[in-house]
Structures are given as C-alpha cells and as structure tokens.
Amino acid sequence: MKKFIYLSLIFLIAGCDKIENPIPVEEGKVDPGLCPEPVFTPNTYTKRNVLVEDFTGHYCNNCPSAAYSIDTLKANIGKQLVPVGVHVTSQFAAPQPSKAPKYQTDFRTAGGTEIKNNLAPTAGLPAVMVSRKDGFTSTPGRLNVYLSSLPTNVRSLLGDSPKVKLQTISTFDAATNRVCAFAEVEIMDNLTDDHSLVFMLLEDSVLDWQVYNGIGGKPSYTAGDIQNYVHKHVLRKIMNGWQGKKVITGGSVAIGDKIVEGATFVISDGSWRTDHLEVVAFVYNNRTKEVMQAYSEKL
C-alpha cells in the first residue's frame, strides 16, 4: 500500500504542469512610452536587398575566407547587400579556456543558434545563406549555398522587384542603453502566404581573436591566431525572437497596405561598442522561409 501511495505521489508531481502566467512574454515588445512610434516618410527605395547570413566562429580557420568574400561583395554592391555574421556552434564559436587569453569572447546568441539549428542544421562552417532562398544548390531544402557560387547567387536576386518594401527608423538612447527599432512594411504584391518581420541588433567591426588557415581571407591577414581580426556585422541580439513577429496574414492584405511594427532591447553588456551598432530588419515568407526584403540601418 505504501508503494502505491509513493507511486501516486510521483504521478501527482510528474503529471501536472501548473501555468502561472499563460501569456508568453513577447520578446522585444515596445512600450510606446519608452519607444514612441516614429512617422515614416514615403518609401522611394524600389530595389530588392539581399540578406547574407554567414555562419561563422572565431575558432573556425576556414571562416575568414567566406567573410572576405562577403566583404568584397558588400564593397561592390553596397546598400543592396545586407550581411550578418552569425557566430554558432560550440566547436567553433565557444570560448576556448585552454587558449586564454585568446578566444575568450562568446559571440554566440540564442537566436543565432536557433537559425542554424532550424535552417541549416547539417551545414559545416563556414556556411552562408543568401536570403534563405532554396534552389541555389542541387539539394532541395538546402539553404546554405556553395561558397564558390556565392557571388552569382547574390547577384541573381539583385534585379528582382521586391514583394514588400521595407524601411526602418531606429534610435539608441545612451542614457538608458535602449535601442528602439521600427520598420514600415509596404505590400507590393498579392501575398498568399503569411510573412514575419525580424529585427536584429548587430555590432560592426568588433576587434577580437580569430584563427585563420591563411587561405582565401583578406590578404593583410596571415595564418595563425589573429589578435585584432575585424569581425564584421556581428549578430548580437535578435530583438523580437528568431522567428520574429507575423505581420502579414496571407490573403488578407492588399497592395499598398502599410504595416508598422517595432522592437526594443536594452543593452546590458558594457563591452559592446554602442557607436558601432546596426539594426537589420527583414521580412520572410513563413512557408518558404525566403527573405523577401531586408534593410540595414546604422545607429
């Protein structure tokens, strides 16, 4: 009988999830008192921007070559290319205690890890996604492109007309360390799928250690441990969750409709250089995952 009572108690404890607060806290939700919504002027920008997400890590010796390819493309293409450095995996991006004082910074983010695990789970580093578009490789569903085809893949999208237009107005308040980011999404096509908006907070040109094998990277770098490697466009925080917030319900919007959505984040890490911050916003198709438009804004 005692055993039965014990078993019942185990059942009681294991079999119940008491939820105290059923509403999930919406990550990055703006408080109008702290982040007043700005007024957008008409968006005259008509090109499609391309989001390039580079999965990288400071202990990945091949990764500087991919970073240099993206950097070169950015220099040539300009505003239409929106690069993001996503540091991922414990193997390549975790701090290396045995190498102290080298490689002690952890650039990994929860959101970045979710992106890798969900969109390029089997890809080795470096791996690059071009607007998360499927079809650039011979493997259906593989979103990370062949690195040798990266420039071609990027350029293939530059002439497209955007299905949505996007512009952002973001601010940083040095007194409170608060970033307020707002985006205006303008519908340019008949959209039958749901679409979501993501806000990323980046820190550009972070100087820190990087291991390098001497192949394909910026010519000024030499093989070995590079102390002041320039980590560009480092993803620091996905402000409204890696899946973002659904802003378009398929079939329920019309061409010309405008949607304004915001996200906020308070920086608590004193090591971030707030004069190097960028906000990247992008809209993606929830079904295909393809990024339809992206926009980068320096703060």
Binding site: M1, F4, F11, G15, C16, D17, K18, I19, P24
Partner: protein, 568 residues
C-alpha cells in the same frame, strides 16, 4: 458459444502458448458477434434528407474473442463503407480497430493492446464504447489490475485513445485504488452491516504545446476521491474530481481549474424505490487532444442526471446532453407499486352461485415519478483577465438559467391476464441554444402524452399499439420550434420468430404548412436462434440520439435499412 477445432484458428494458435492451462485437450473457445447495418438512401428534399452520393452506406463489425483458461485475446474488425448518415465522418474504411491480449495470474491481470476501463463514476476516467453513437475512446497501450491484499484493488492504465481508425495526439496515464473495508478481514465481513468502499484516482495526459499564443500545460493532471456506503436498501455514493489548468478549444483556452461533484443516494424496499442525484460540473471537458471537438477523445465521462426515455417523441426530439463546460443538475425519482388485492366472490342472492366482483386491483399497478433539471452555474466573468482564468463560480449555486428540465410520470397497469397499458406524461423544458449549440432559437416547452397498450392474443401472437402526442407551449415566450407532433405505432409479434411494425410520425403543428409531413416507416424482422434480421423502409425524421447524456445528431433519411446481428 461453442468449441471449435484449433486447426481452423491458426491465427490464434500462438496465443495458447501463454495459457496457464496444462490440459492439452483444452484448446480454448472462440466466441463473438457480428452486426451489419446497410442503408439505402432515396433523395427527399422535402424532409431535408442530405443527398448521399454513394446511394447506399454500410456499418459493420465483428468481434472475435478467444479464451483459454486465464488467457484471452481478441479482435474487432470494423467496416464503414462509408459510415451511415449521422455517424462521425471520421469513420471511413475498414480495419482491425480493436485488438487485445490479457491474462490473469496471482491476483494480477495484465492487458496489452486495446481495453475499456473506468475509474469510479467515470468523471475522471472512462474509456468505453457506445456503438449506436459511434463513440469509442478505447485505450491502446497497457493496463494492470492488481489485488495485493484482500479488499484492496489497484488499477493502472497507460496508452493513447482511439480516434476513428487512428489514435489521438495525447498520452493518457492513470492509477486508481479502491479499498473495500468490509473485505479486509473475516470479522469485518461477517459483522459489519454497512459496506464501505473508499477510492481515489489520479489521471494525467500529455500533449505537446502546439500553440504560439499561449504557454500551454503539456501535462494536465486530475485527481478524484470517492466514498460509497451501502446499508440494507440504502445507498450513498459520492465522488469529487478536480482537474488542474487545461486550456482547450472547449473552454476557450482558459486556465481555470475544473471541478465536478456527484452525489447519489437511493433507497429501495419491496414495492418502493426512491433516488436523488445532485451533480455539479465546472470546466470539466477533459480530452487527450485539447484541440478536438464533438465526442472525440474524451478521457472522462460526465454522468447524465436526466432520465433516458425510450418512447420515440420524448427520446429523440428534446433529449438532454450533459454540458461539460458547466452545469448544476438534480434528479429525483420515486417508484411505487400498488399491490394487487383479491376480492371475495359475491354470492348471487337467491341462488347458490357466486360471481366475480369488479376488481381494479386484481393486478398490480406501478407508478413512477421522475424530475430532473440542469441549471447554468452561477458564474461571474473576470474583467482584465490577464491570467486567463475566465470566470469565477459559486461552488454549488445554480443560476436562474435552466438548460433543461423534465417532469414525467409513468403508470403501468395490467387490466387482464392478456391486456396491459402504460401511460406516460412528460413536461420538458429544453434550451435549444445551449444544448444544440445554436443561436437565435430559444427555450422549448413540450408536453408529451404516450399511451402504450399491449394485448396478448395467445401464447404466440401479441399486438402492441402506441399513441403519442407532443404539444409545444406557444405562450410565455417559449420557442415553438417545429410545433406539435403526433406519432402512432402498431407492432405485431409472432413469437419467437417474426415481428412487424408500422410507425407514422406527423408534424401536424409545424408553422410552415409545407413541413407538415408524415414520416411513415415500416419494418419486418425475423429471429432465428442467435441471429436477427430486419428490413425497414420509410422516412425517418431528423433528431438527436443520446445515450447517457452523450448525443449525436441524426439527419433525416428516406430509404431501406437492412440490419443483421448474430452471435456465436
């Protein structure tokens, strides 16, 4: 049930190896039953019969069970080609829907596969089948029953529930313990006049959180306690169940706890019986898939506290369906048998002869009075409900809104050796919006009279006639619904093989004169040993069919129906 050779049952040969029986000549037994219902549908737009593309539909099943000693195994093969009108559309196709193997050893019973089970009154857990409703929430997994000590009964269940030919998304697990005080010792068994049974249960379900809008509990538990007392003709049974937060499509994804209390007391002695039931249900829809509806995947069963009628009009026009989201219900029932009384023969004056006096009490008379009512609970909506508790409830306080009430009286009287009648009166109040989930209808008040006369022509031939009338109250803001009905039934039985019946239902009081329709329906049946065949033809009106407070809507139909049942 008969023994058959093992050679013809090669599928079950393997099972015999599990048996504890040592007798090699005992090859076990196979028994089972089969039923087939085939219905041919004519188009009949007048009565609103839906068009059936297949023209003909069929439901069928066959139970085949094998037993040998303390081992049993079996299957149920089912076919829905396609399911008869009114059955849940999920039943489609054929297959083995139920399979099990079970054995008993040393006070332990183990079942693998499908099984039905109930804890207490069923308010926390009941897996059962009601074939006429298309209801089947059989478990598929394991069940253990163990009696570790005299008077102590333990049960454990673990599995998924049947959903048509598949299984529900959630996992259900539960334990139940029952203590029969009187059985604990020989002394108690002999000397204790009051039988006391104590019980407790815990049931939990697991389902993945599949909702982005809310943080959903993946493990939802419910617990129950019960006490049953019996002494002489008196009995008292009560059970309380509580369920933790279980947001679901049924309750609008609120996180309020669920509660149910059932109290049932009865007294009976020769010629007299009385019972009273009180029940409170609050937010007690408990399914293994929070997104399901209809009668799919209920873990628990909420007992009905209204009388289940058998006569056509009271049974199918306004029957009550238990409201799992909340109700407070009561039922009282009294039955009394007026004993027969013999009168002495009266001497005819001036002669030596005697005559039989008129004696209305030559045969007994039975009178039953029943009342039941279900009320909406007294609740208050919570404003600014950020915790999604929904509302608060006064525990056993009904509100003024009556979902349903039914006062009925039945008098059974045998007039002669061969003639008897039953008269019944029903006064029902039926909130159509709530019970049928409609909007803009209203509350129906129906008064029904039924006269049922049976005459035994001889030992083999019997005729039975029913006359029924339903009148709706058109005053006091009651909803007229389809208006008045009259029903006539004539049934002729030639024992033991044949029966014939003709039924006509006439909606003579419908406010729409085009709908004043006769629903004429005839049937003939033949019974031979353990097999029964029946063929029917005619119109059947739309209605609601309920068993034990669980209901399904039956659409109107016109056509032939063939039914065959057989047991072996």
């Amino acid at each position: 049930m008969k023994k058959i050779t093992l050679l013809s049952l090669s599928i079950l040969v393997g099972f015999s190896g599990f048996s504890q029986e040592k007798n090699s000549t005992d090859i076990g037994q196979i028994h089972g039953n089969v039923q087939t219902d085939v219905q041919y549908y004519n188009e009949d737009s007048l009565i609103g019969a839906p068009v059936v593309p297949e023209k003909m539909l069929m439901n069928g099943f066959a139970n085949i069970n094998y037993t040998r000693g303390n081992f049993a195994a079996g299957i149920r093969y089912e076919s829905y080609l396609n399911a008869l009108q009114g059955f849940p559309a999920g039943y489609r196709g054929t297959g083995i829907a139920y399979k099990y193997a079970t054995y008993n050893i040393d006070n332990l019973e183990v079942t693998a596969g499908n099984y039905y089970e109930q804890f207490g009154s069923g308010m926390i857990f009941r897996a059962y089948e009601e074939r006429q409703l298309g209801y089947d929430n059989a478990m598929d997994g394991f069940r253990l029953k163990y009696k570790p000590y005299r008077g102590v009964y333990l049960k454990g269940v673990y599995g998924k529930q049947r959903l048509f030919f598949g299984k529900g998304a959630g996992i259900v697990r539960g334990i139940d313990g029952e203590l029969v005080i009187n059985e604990l010792s020989d002394s108690l068994e002999l000397n204790m006049k009051t039988r006391i049974v104590l019980g407790g249960s815990f049931v939990s379900k697991y389902q993945e959180d599949d909702n982005q809008a809310f943080i959903l509990p993946e493990n939802v538990g419910a617990f129950a306690g019960r006490i049953n007392l019996y002494r002489g003709g008196f009995s008292l049974a009560t059970e309380y169940v509580e369920k933790i937060n279980d947001p679901s499509a049924d309750n609008g994804f609120i996180y309020k706890k669920g509660q149910a209390l059932l109290l049932n007391t009865a007294y009976s002695q020769k010629g007299f019986g009385a019972s009273f039931t009180a029940k409170k249900v609050d937010n007690m829809s408990f399914r293994s898939d929070r997104n399901e509806g209809q009668t799919n995947l209920f873990i628990n069963y909420l007992p009905s506290t209204s009388k289940q009628h058998t006569y056509n009009l009271p049974a199918t026009l306004y029957p009550y369906a238990v409201q799992p989201n909340g109700e407070i219900a009561f039922e009282g029932d009294v039955s009394y048998k007026i004993r027969r009384k013999r009168k002495k023969k009266i001497k005819i004056e001036g002669t030596d002869e005697y005559r039989k006096p008129f004696n209305l009490r030559k045969y007994s008379t039975e009178i039953s009075v029943n009342w039941s009512a279900a009320f909406a609970p007294d609740t208050s909506i919570i404003a600014n409900d950020s915790l999604r508790q929904g509302y608060t409830t006064n525990f056993f306080m009904p509100s003024r809104r009556i979902y349903f009430s039914d006062f009925n009286i039945e008098i059974k009287k045998k007039l002669t050796k061969d003639l008897k009648f039953v008269y019944s009166f029903f006064n029902m109040r039926y909130d159509k919006d709530i019970i049928e989930g409609k909007t803009g209808t209203g509350v129906v008040n129906a008064r029904i009279h039924v006269l049922d006369v049976t005459y035994n022509i001889d030992d083999e031939n019997t005729i039975r006639i029913e006359a029924q009338h339903l009148g709706v109250n058109k005053k006091d803001n009651f909803f007229e619904d389809e208006g008045n009905w009259v029903t006539g039934l004539a049934e002729y039985t030639i024992s033991p093989n044949w029966f014939f019946a003709v039924l006509d239902q006439f909606n003579y009081g419908n406010s729409d004169s085009k709908k004043r329709i006769h629903y004429l329906f005839g049937s003939v049946g033949y019974i031979h040993n353990a097999s029964r065949f029946s063929l029917s033809y005619g119109r059947q009106r739309a209605g609601i069919f309920c068993v034990g407070g669980v209901c399904r809507v039956v659409p109107a139909s016109n056509g032939f129906t063939f039914t065959m049942t057989s047991t072996f």
